[in-house]
Amino acid sequence: MTKRWLTLIWLTLFLSWQAQAELVIEITGGSESALPIAIVPFGSEGFSAPEDISKIITNDLARSGRFAPLAKQDLISSPHQKSEINFQDWRLLRSEGLLVGKISSLDGETYNVQFQLFDVYKGQQLAGKRYQVPASGLRRLAHQIADQVYQTLTGEVGVFSTRLAFVSVIRNADGSKRFALQVSDSDGANPRTVLQSKQPILSPSWASDGERLAYVSFENGKAEVFVQEMRSGRRNSVAAFKGLNSAPAWSPDGKQLALTLSKSGNPEIYTLELATGKLTRVTHNSQAIDTEAVWMPNGKELLFTSDRGGRPQVYKIAASGGRAKRMTYEGSYNTSADVSPDGQMMTMVHSINGKFYIAVQDLNTGALLILTETGKDESPSFAPNGRMILYATEQNGKGVLAAVSVDGQIQQRLGESDRGVREPAWSPIRK
């Protein structure tokens, strides 16, 4: 009798023990540090590929600052498809993802490419695709794959397949200069010249469709604003007024340009409706230089540089004109503003003791963060996802392209041109 009672008591105790056994632990914090990712060099069959796709992807992801690709020597094996993967092994590397792929070509002209992105812990495929591209498309494809990995693992749009526009200065053998308006991949590689001139070219600006560029050319002996279509190469002058025609910036809807014109005798900001040629004067400050306008994402306001306060500072003004509001107070020199796609931040050139740095400022709080250290930095331009800032700097006396993450953590030189480059502009995401 008692024995049975005891058994019952023990059973009850045991059950309650079991019920309590699921410990509840709260984990707060974590970090937003770079995601470790394992990128296995793609397997190759047949003709060897002219581009190292996995390397391009690795560099893209690393450059973004959001990923920490594992070093090649740390990769424990080289699988190229799911069947070859021992997930247990890969788990030990503690990467968030494993990217594998293959590239094959039967003729050296057309390439078949496939990639797979895995969650090694669950042994699940997160993304994967097959492509067939010409050899010339391999580089671009690599950027597209990087975009997909980026988007899959961060939830944000990748911008690796976007492009950069910039002006290269080429020194001829006779000592004279040539100017080239060039467009490269987002990593600065693969530059293509879209315009060459013996006269200076300045201030390229991308239309939001990514198909048109506006820029300043001195080809007619004075500063004029041109718009050029990327595909057709067709170009025409849109502003050739008396005096200065400079600093074009596209409105978000691609229908207007903001410009600096000195036809009134003093540099002022104007807006130009491209379809009608209708010109609207925005600033009316004949005592000061107003220039370098950029549009806020709402399409209703402009940021511009003005020395109306004595020193060049960034101001905000309604595109229809009106009263300008000073935006920068820190430092005695803030110029060349650009606005992040979400309109929350701006980047500008910030000068301290005669040196020029790239800085970002929170447009809501006014908090300023200086991102670079080189001291000869200029022309900052936001990546279309707002995560990186492209700018020009100087290395060994030559202008080079560089990019910095908006938190200043990642800085990288882009491209390997030995020509001097300046005035870069990051393209929008091609629709």
Binding site: L6, A21, E22, L23, V24, I25, E26, I27, T28, G29, G30, S31, E32, S33, A34, L35, R66, R91, R94, E96, D119, Y121, K122, L153, T154, G155, E156
Partner: protein, 355 residues
């Protein structure tokens, strides 16, 4: 009073005598010159003169004058007839008149003196009267005094009598009080006696009750002793069983201690597990404050992950996956060597929060 009255009478007599003398003087004066017609009249006048007053005298004298004058007029006429001898007579007359006048003056003075005397007498009388009155008054005061004295004496007498009466009443009262007190004392003594009797009765009753109680107590004690004896017997009978139970409870206590020890180890390792997972957790940039994912995690012996499942999603797939990955990356999770504690660290719920 009698003296005043006699004085008045003598004053009246003086007046009458004076008048008689005066009239006598007149008669003598005019006697030789009175005219025939009027000769009889003075005779009558003399008789009546005793009661004439002063005014009448003056009037009489006036009349007399007139008669004289007329007589002189007649005599003048006679004188014309008579010689110088008459002139002498007239001279004699003037002289007599002068005498009369002096006489009259003297009478006047005399009368004034008389009057003053009368007045004085009157005053004396009044004074006398006053004195008499005062004497009377004095007498009355004296009488009053005597009466008062008498009265006082009587009052004193009465007072004395009253005092005596009061004293007697007091004495009576005192005697009565004494009597009352004695009666009261008597009563008290009686009451005391009664009380003592009652007490004695009560004492008796109490003693009886106590005796009864003692009896009862004894009975109760007996009963208890009996019970105790019974219980003792029972306890002894149950001794073996009790010993066994004690043994069991000791065992239970040991188990409880063991459980506490295990719980301590579990707490310690829970914290280590928490820290380790936290270190491996990389949140997506899209995570926001307020997101929360709950994961159910089972471990293999040794701390490797056997199974992870999201039992409550944050609503953000990347966030959920970052939590899952964190658990996997953290594996093997720290495990104690104690098998009981390790067994308790097999199944978890992890709640992931950004803040």
């Amino acid at each position: 009073m009698k003296a005043d009255w006699t004085k008045n009478i003598s004053s009246a007599t003086y007046a009458v005598l004076l008048h008689i003398v005066l009239i006598g003087l007149f008669v003598v004066g005019i006697g030789p010159t009175s005219a025939p017609k009027l000769a009889s009249q003075p005779k009558v006048d003399i008789v009546q003169a005793t009661v004439m007053n002063e005014a009448d005298i003056i009037k009489e004298m006036q009349v007399q004058q007139d008669i004289e004058n007329k007589k002189r007029l007649k005599e003048k006429q006679q004188q014309e007839k008579v010689d110088k001898k008459l002139e002498e007579t007239q001279k004699e007359l003037v002289r007599k008149e002068q005498e009369f006048r002096d006489q009259q003056e003297r009478v006047k003075i005399e009368k004034k003196k008389q009057q003053e005397k009368i007045k004085k007498l009157e005053q004396e009388r009044k004074l006398q009267e006053q004195k008499t009155k005062e004497a009377e008054k004095l007498r009355k005061v004296e009488e009053e005094k005597q009466r008062l004295a008498e009265q006082q004496r009587k009052e004193a007498e009465q007072k004395k009598q009253k005092a005596e009466q009061e004293r007697q009443a007091e004495e009576e009262k005192r005697k009565k009080a004494e009597a009352d007190r004695k009666a009261e004392e008597q009563k008290k003594i009686a009451a005391e006696k009664a009380r003592k009797a009652e007490e004695a009765k009560k004492l008796k009753a109490e003693q009886d009750r106590k005796a009864e109680e003692a009896k009862k107590l004894k009975a109760e004690q007996d009963r208890k002793a009996e019970e105790k004896r019974k219980r003792e017997a029972e306890r002894k009978a149950q001794d073996a069983e009790a010993n066994r139970l004690l043994q069991e409870s000791l065992q239970a206590e040991q188990q409880e201690q063991e459980q506490r020890r295990v719980a301590g180890v579990v707490d310690q390792y829970s914290l280590m597990i928490k820290q380790r997972i936290k270190r491996y957790w990389i949140r997506p940039a899209s995570s926001t404050v307020g997101m929360q994912a709950t994961l159910r995690v089972s471990l293999l012996p040794g701390g490797d992950v056997k199974r992870v499942s999201v039992i409550k999603s944050s609503g953000n797939a990347l966030f959920d996956r970052s939590a899952e990955s964190a658990v996997y990356k953290a594996a093997p999770l720290p495990q104690p060597t104690d098998p009981k504690a390790a067994a308790a660290l097999r199944d978890f719920q992890f709640i992931f929060k950004p803040e």
